[in-house]
């Protein structure tokens, strides 16, 4: 790169972004490794080694977060991929209500997560809720969606899918529309049916859309906090507590060292799952 280029594309352009990003994001991330090893009050700290991590793994109310976070991320991610793909296929086909359906599926993406959480927790009310009344009307006994510890996490996950599937669908629509017409023509000449089209053209060739949806939904699921907080606050008991909600609880209680240890654990958890996943997925991607 010559001198003129270097002067023209000066790193001075990068400076404002770098300063903000390094100070507000990278510095705290690095400091979190240190503060997770302390008992900390923001003004004063005391080094206690790995005690915070030991507490996190030993106490049942904290370690349940790992399991819940993982289940939540996997369930929401899988449902978004499957439903998003099917909706993507439906909404790229030649149906007349396509425009309307696209808008409808997409609008929850714009509604505030907290508002969605509150509205759905009302609809999932065990005795008064709309969902149970509808079920009873067709003869299915009422379900305690958010009060049953075995079920609550899945109820929240379903709400998450309701809100987030529009994003997955949009990605799939873009992916499916970028498949060249020739593939469909070849299929037609060979006399393939609709299912073969789905199985042998759409699914493999919208692979990069699938990868995008998986990565975004999975990472988003692992970091998820606001929906869970607005629907159950981690309850009943600790049944829906995920790492992010535990961090908030410890922060509120003033255990800053412990909260920061939670952050480090979440960081490691996300990195250990997301980087290999990303590698595994993109390795198999095909070019159109």
């Amino acid at each position: 790169m010559n001198k003129v280029m270097k002067r023209t594309y000066s790193y001075a352009f990068l400076l404002p972004a770098a300063v903000i990003y390094l100070i507000i994001f990278i510095l705290p991330t690095i400091m979190s490794f240190f503060f997770s090893l302390t008992r900390w009050t923001l003004f004063d700290w005391e080094f206690i080694g790995f005690d915070n991590f030991v507490t996190f793994f030993q106490e049942a109310s904290l370690s349940i977060g790992f399991k819940n976070t993982f289940i939540y991320a996997v369930v929401t991610c899988l449902l978004k991929v499957v439903i998003g793909l099917l909706l993507g296929v439906l909404l790229t086909s030649k149906i007349r209500t396509r425009g309307y359906l696209r808008s409808v599926v997409f609008f929850p993406t714009l509604v505030s997560t907290i508002a969605v959480g509150i509205a759905f927790s009302m609809m999932m009310h065990p005795t008064l809720g709309l969902i149970n009344k509808a079920l009873e009307a067709i003869g299915i006994p009422a379900v305690d969606w958010l009060g049953n510890p075995d079920l609550a996490l899945f109820s929240v996950a379903l709400t998450d899918v309701w809100k987030g599937v529009g994003f997955a669908t949009v990605i799939y629509i873009a992916g499916i529309m970028s498949i060249p017409e020739q593939y469909y023509e070849a299929l037609q000449i060979d006399g393939g049916n609709a299912f073969q089209k789905f199985r042998h053209i759409i699914v493999p060739l919208s692979r990069s859309a699938t990868n995008t949806v998986i990565i975004f939904a999975f990472i988003g699921g692992l970091r998820s906090f606001d929906l869970i907080w607005s629907m159950t606050r981690g309850g009943p008991g600790y049944a829906t507590d995920v790492i992010a909600s535990i961090i908030y609880k410890q922060y509120q209680a003033g255990f800053y060292g412990l909260a920061t240890a939670g952050n480090v654990i979440l960081f490691v958890f996300v990195a250990l799952l997301a980087f290999p996943l990303n590698y595994f997925l993109t390795r198999k991607e095909v070019d159109l």
Binding site: F13, T29, Y100, V111, M123, L128, T212
Partner: protein
């Protein structure tokens, strides 16, 4: 069954399902926002016997000493300031990240990617803001929004830069244009489409942000719209009609935005994420 019948029934099924799954929750919020307190606490979707639109709206606005108005002011200011700053820093950084390649390029790329994946460290961020005297200030929360939105934004701008031919730069450089003039007079105007996309998508995410204000912008003076929802919910009593009215009031601005910028929002979401 003939092909067109099949298609028609599929279409009808899709429309009915869309009403059941997507319209009923919205309708549920709407009708209950119009009811009186005892009516709304039954949580049904029947039409209210008397419509309380104005009285509910008034009560929501004046609650907690006009908290909602303060919240709207704070959220709007936060959204505008964050977006202005974010567009500037992301456009400049995206310009350099696309045009320049040397030993630092992969390092920068790695840091940006890390920002998309790593969850922010909450308490250490508070500690940093506090040491800079920025904790609980508008400046502080704006910087947080910009820092956390930067990775996505810069990727958006970098990708868009790929569509602007290098020949434009070269012509300008030969004519004696320096870097700053090149960027501000020639490149920045060409970035208008992606800037519009960024403005629309970021305003949705920042206006709807709950977590960052919760952590980094606490205090009753600093309330943002998402936190006003907790005005009408307490451990013991919930004023359902007002709660639903509040949901409606803070949702409507974005639904209006959606009506106008539907395509921009959708293209923004796909722009950064799909190859090809």
């Amino acid at each position: 069954m003939s092909r067109s019948m099949k298609r028609l029934s599929l279409e009808a099924a899709a429309v009915i399902l869309s009403i059941l799954i997507f319209w009923i929750p919205l309708y549920f919020v709407l009708v209950n926002a119009l009811k009186d307190a005892p009516g709304a606490s039954e949580l049904t979707i029947s039409w209210p016997s008397t419509v309380h639109l104005w009285s509910n709206l008034k009560e929501v606005v004046i609650a907690n000493d006009y908290m909602l108005l303060r919240a709207f002011y704070n959220s709007t200011l936060l959204t505008i300031l964050s977006i202005v700053l974010m567009v500037m820093v992301c456009a400049m950084a995206g310009f350099i990240m696309h045009r320049r390649s040397d030993r630092l390029t992969p390092v920068i790329g790695f840091f940006v990617l890390a920002g998309l994946i790593i969850p922010p460290a909450i308490v250490p961020t508070i500690w940093v803001l506090d040491n800079l005297q920025l904790f609980k200030t508008m400046t502080g929360i704006v910087l947080v929004e910009v820092a956390l939105g930067f990775p996505f934004g810069v990727i958006l701008f970098r990708n868009f830069m790929g569509g602007i031919p290098r020949e434009i730069d070269e012509a300008a450089i030969i004519d004696g244009c320096g870097g700053f003039r090149l960027f501000f007079r020639i490149i920045l105007p060409l970035l208008k489409p992606v800037t519009a996309t960024m403005i629309v998508t970021s305003s949705v995410s920042i206006f709807n942000d709950f977590v960052n204000p919760l952590y980094f912008f606490p205090g009753s003076e600093n309330v943002t719209v998402q936190l006003t929802l907790y005005n009408f919910m307490s451990q013991y009593t919930t004023q359902y009609n007002l709660l639903f009215m509040n949901i409606l009031v803070i949702t409507v601005p974005l639904l209006i935005l959606f009506l106008f910028f539907n395509n921009k929002i959708v293209s923004g979401m796909t722009a950064g994420s799909v190859k090809g």
